[in-house]
Every structure is written in structure tokens, then in C-alpha cells.
Subunit: 367 residues, 2 copies
């Protein structure tokens, strides 16, 4: 169940609550990515205490490692990884097409080779729903086809037809007795009419929520926002909208203004591993030698554990020394930055001040 | 200042308190190794809250990275790394002889090539004390010569003479106005008479404590314990005795029975990186496939964060998936195992029950 508490008067931003079997999620929400059940370097308790009441995991990855029998033994993915919040599992469609050694698609299934051990597996849309029921995921995502950013229109149309067919199979395959939610994924590559067709078709299927996929895969920002706007505006008003795998703070705040409620992205965790950190005044890289003697924290407006306790000089030292504690501190900071932005977004929508907050945020970050 | 509170009646074990400028250290004590100022994967606050009131760092490593000017700017190493406890810095003698690309020794100094960037540096015993005064280390260790386990007697004698001369230079070089403590390092390779000579000579120099170096470098246990016993028994009764770089739980509990008060070792942290964990019933490796479905924690007698929250199956999964969170959890467990053993050692000495505890501990671990 999704409640909309408030709508912004100057944009399509909205404040909502998504009810899951493991807690109520305030939206807009950012979901940290724990592909294999762990948000890299961070404990599940730290994550929850930082206010992340929902995280992301990946069916393709967990199916390969540790394997279904292990998670089944624990009753749920949530039990296995000991996370108190809710979990959305991505189907792994994107990973099969981008990571597996090959992926052979038919109308009913996709055959692929594990990137880990070369074993051959077959996923059908039904099977992928059942796998996520074994995980007891709070939000189930259906198998879809990712054609890649270079796909021709005819290829994109063909892939979309399969994705739409699979969406219908998936929603029918889901066990209605259980409380797992299922979202459907609108696609359409970079073709306006396909984006429209996909969103309108899926809207009829009465899913618990709707994702927007296939964006932020290399296209320019203008194209992305245009496609996003088409998808978002054609999806049902009364269901949560989830923009998959996006994005920068600028992307998120813009997408909120277009009516998106949910986000996931590896940026805060992945950037931490390269020394790149987000601040209220723009990004910086802790490797830079200007930080060598710097007593200031990463961001003097930030209250995270890293900024409350450590100087840029220390953070640079542990990063340059390849200490993994560096990854932990920079990840905590970056996740806190995202969470703090999300809190401010929610508060500003509540105060009908969102566009003002958005403009100030962007101006301060980009100047 | 070192107080001995209690002596065990059936062994040479003793309970003490070592006063440092940054807190009183209960002995016997285990000091986790934070070579570059960070105990790998663990935060300084977690370390302190786990009861580690003193940690180890390394002069050679910190001199090279981040460099003296950086730490000087922060006033002390303790400020730089934001650790609430005390810090003992090893001089780096061992690292110069084992890690640097070359080390050319004269009577007064050692010239070496950085293992990081190939730069040439010269350390004198005076300089090494001064570097540690810049760190404001709670316990300063003098530069010594490590000849390696294969050294002939004549080589060992020559190196010992230099080490003894440098010890005297070091203790004289130390600023007496300041409250840093200085320990001296007894050596003597695997020659009984040299071990005796070294310990007796240094005892005259009235240091704040005495280390025993050059052990656990590949020799058999019998030789190690024999050499340790000679060194320990010839060092002053009223000063703390510190066995450098040792060792397994079995080594530590045996050394305590021979009158050793202080220990440091990379085993709990290094083993964590290979999946090897300590338990009350012996060691196990979390990689082993028998743990794949195991719901039990590493050690059902352990109350650490990892054992309180995670199954062996989960720990194996994150280890096999190369998630760095695995290193964190296994490190926390291993450090907790050492700390718990140390607490029990102290308590058993206090209750004059140490040998009983020792025998039970060894029997349970080795059966």
C-alpha cells in the first residue's frame, strides 16, 4: 500500500509512505546497494541506524553466491544477512545482459553463463519471481530485457515486447497469499513512443509499484531527463515510482521534481573506493595532495562519523596507504550525504518549499 | 611507573598497572597492531570500547607515510589518528631489516631504501627517539639491529654490541622533561649467553620497561620458550616485560607464566584476512565448505559483535564473495578472542588460579 501524504505545488514532487511487510518506508527514499547482501564495508546495523529502512540486493548475484539452498535454510534473505529493514531485490535482468559471459534470449527465457564459474543457467520470468519469494523480498522485481544503449528501434521494440509479456507472466506468477510486493519495470530505450507504450501497458497490470529502467547507461542528461519525464508521467499517479540505478545527487533531486519516489545507486559506495566524496559544495577527491596537511573534515556541514572524528589529512593518509578503514569512512560519509539530502527533500516537500531547496542545493553544489 | 599488584604463586605470572601519559594500562596486556595508525578495518573507537587501552604503531612506516610533517602538524600521532588510548611505537628496526629494499648498517646509523618509493634515508638511534617524540608516543622503542634467524654467533655478537650501544644512546637522547616512557630491547638471537648478556647489560640502564625481541622468527617453540625464559628471568623484576611480535594464544599464555606482561601481534588481524578464526575449541577456517549452511556463530562461547549477529554461513558467504565487511567481522571476532583471553588471564592471576586456567585453556584449544 502506498499513501501520498503531500504534493508539492510547484513540481511533481510528492511525499509518501510505502507499506512493506518489514516496515513503512518514507518516500522519497534512497536505497543503498548491497548486491550480495552487504553494503560494501558497512554493517547492517550501521545502515539501519543511519535511517536506511530499505536496501537493495540482487537476485542474479545471490542465486550464484551463496546459492538458493543457503538462503532458504535461513527462511529469508533478511534473516540471512541480519538486516532489520526491508529489502528490494532486483531481478538480475540487467546483470545477466551486462555481466554474464553470454545471455541467449528466447520468448520465454534467458540462458546465461555465470561470470563466476562458467556454469550455464536458465531464468524464466516465473522462476525469477519464485527465487525472490524464497528470499522473501519485500519488493520483487520481474525479469526484464536490457537491450543496451545502442539498440536500434526494431531491436528495442522486440525487447520491449518480451519485457511486457514477461511483466504479465511475473505478476501472475506471484503468490497472492503472501505479502511480498511486486513492481513492474517500464522500459523503451530512448524512443519516446516506446517509453509511452511501456508505461501505459504496465499501468493496466495493477502492480504495487512501477520502476523506470534502462536510463543512466551512457546517454546525455537531456535525453535521460526527457525519457524519465515521459515514463514517470505515464505511470499511475497513486503508485510509487522507482528510478533504477540512478544516480548523482543532481539526478535524484531532478527526478524527485518529476515525480519519482524511489532510488538506488552504487555511486556513494563505489565513489568511496576511488576516494571521491560528496560535499554540500561539490565533490572532492581525498587523494588530492592539497588535503595532505588539512585539519578540516570532508564537509564542515556534515555530522557523519567520518566528519565528526577525522581530518582530511588522516582520511587521505589511510586512503593512500590502502587501509580498508578508508573505504569504510568514505562510504559512511557518502551514504550520510545522500541520506541527509533525502531528509531535506522530504522536509522541503512537507513545507511546500521543495523547488527552493532544489535550486539552492544545485547552485551550492555546482558553483 | 609500573606497579605489580599481585604475583601468581605457581608461576612467574603477575598482575600489574603501567602508568602512561594517556592512561593506566592493566597488565598482562595485548596491544593490537596499527602499523600505519589504523588497526586494519576497525575504528579507533571500536578498539577502545573493546577494552584496548593501548595500541601499537610503527615509526618506520609512519615516517615514510604520511611523513613527519603531517603528524607534527596534529601535535601527536594520537591526535592524528583520533585514538583515546595510549600508543607504543615500534622503532622500525625490524622493518628496516626485513622490509626495506636494502639496509646498510654502520656503528652509528643505518641507511635504507624505502620499500614504497625507493628513496634513501638514514636513521640514527638519536633520530629514531626524536621521531617518536614528535609522535608523542606513550612508549618509545629504540632502534635495534635484527640479524635474522640464521645469524652466526660472531654476527649475532657484533649486532648485539651495536644494539646495546644504541640502547644507551637512545635512553640518553630521550627528553627527560617529557612524560614519554622508553623501553629497551633485549636481543641475543638464539644464543643463551648473548640473551643473558643483553638482558643484564640493559637492566643497568634503568629504562621504563624492557622488551624481548628477535623471537618467533621461524625457530621451534622449545627454542623460543627457552630463549624467552632466559631473557625474561634476567630482566628487572620491577619493570614491565614486553615480548615483541608474539604470538599465538598458546604463546601468550605460556609467556605470561614466564613473567611477560605485554604483547603485540598481527595474528588476530592478519588471520582474519585469510578466513582463519580463533575459538575456545581451537582455530577454524571460515572458507571451509562445512560452514556453508551452518547457522551457528563462529564460537558459541563468544559475545563479540560477529558471533552475536551472524552465522558461519553468512560469514563464509561474505568471505567467499570478497566483501571487505568479512575482514571487519573476522577481525572483531579475533581481537575479542584475544581480549577475552587476556581478561581471563588477569582474573585468574588475581584469584591465584592462573595455572589452572592456563591448563584448561590449552587442553580445550588443543584437543
Amino acid at each position: 500500500m502506498f499513501e501520498i501524504l503531500k504534493k508539492d505545488s510547484k513540481s511533481k514532487a510528492r511525499l509518501g509512505k510505502l507499506h512493506t511487510q518489514n516496515g513503512i518506508i518514507d518516500t522519497p527514499v534512497f536505497m543503498p546497494v548491497g548486491t550480495l547482501g552487504t553494503v560494501k564495508s558497512v554493517s547492517p546495523l550501521e545502515l539501519y541506524n543511519e535511517g536506511f529502512k530499505i536496501m537493495l540486493s540482487n537476485t542474479y548475484h545471490l542465486f550464484l553466491r551463496p546459492g538458493m539452498e543457503v538462503i532458504e535454510k535461513f527462511g529469508s534473505l533478511r534473516n540471512f544477512i541480519n538486516y532489520k529493514g526491508a529489502i528490494l531485490t532486483d531481478s538480475g535482468g540487467f546483470q545477466i545482459f551486462s555481466l554474464a559471459k553470454f545471455a541467449k534470449i528466447s520468448d520465454d527465457s534467458v540462458e546465461f553463463m555465470s561470470h563466476i564459474d562458467g556454469a550455464i543457467h536458465v531464468f524464466t520470468p516465473e522462476k525469477v519471481v519464485k527465487l525472490q519469494e524464497v528470499f522473501d523480498s519485500d519488493i520483487i522485481m520481474p525479469l526484464d530485457v536490457f537491450s543496451g544503449p545502442e539498440a536500434s528501434k526494431s531491436r528495442a521494440e522486440k525487447d520491449l515486447d518480451i519485457t511486457l509479456k514477461w511483466a504479465e507472466i511475473s505478476i501472475n506468477a506471484k503468490n497472492k497469499e503472501k505479502n511480498n510486493l511486486i513492481f513492474l519495470i517500464s522500459q523503451g530505450n530512448f524512443f519516446e513512443d516506446l517509453r509511452e507504450k511501456s508505461a501505459i501497458y504496465l499501468s493496466e497490470l495493477n502492480a504495487d509499484g512501477y520502476a523506470i529502467g534502462g536510463l543512466a547507461v551512457g546517454e546525455d542528461k537531456e535525453t535521460m531527463y526527457n525519457m524519465l519525464n515521459i515514463s514517470a508521467s505515464k505511470l499511475p499517479e497513486n503508485k510509487p515510482r522507482y528510478l533504477m540505478g540512478v544516480g548523482t545527487p543532481e539526478d535524484i533531486i531532478t527526478a524527485v521534481s518529476l515525480g519519482v519516489d524511489m532510488f538506488d545507486c552504487v555511486l556513494p559506495t563505489r565513489n568511496a573506493r576511488t576516494g571521491s566524496v560528496f560535499t554540500s559544495k561539490g565533490n572532492l577527491n581525498i587523494k588530492n595532495s592539497i588535503h595532505k596537511f588539512e585539519k578540516q573534515p570532508i564537509d564542515d556541514e556534515c555530522n557523519c562519523y567520518a566528519c565528526s572524528n577525522f581530518s582530511r589529512a588522516y582520511l587521505r593518509h589511510v586512503f593512500m596507504s590502502k587501509e580498508i578503514f578508508s573505504q569504510r569512512l568514505l562510504t559512511i560519509h557518502n551514504l550520510h550525504f545522500y541520506q541527509n539530502m533525502i531528509f531535506n527533500i522530504r522536509q522541503s516537500i512537507n513545507n511546500d518549499n521543495f523547488m527552493n531547496y532544489k535550486n539552492n542545493f544545485l547552485e551550492k553544489r555546482l558553483k
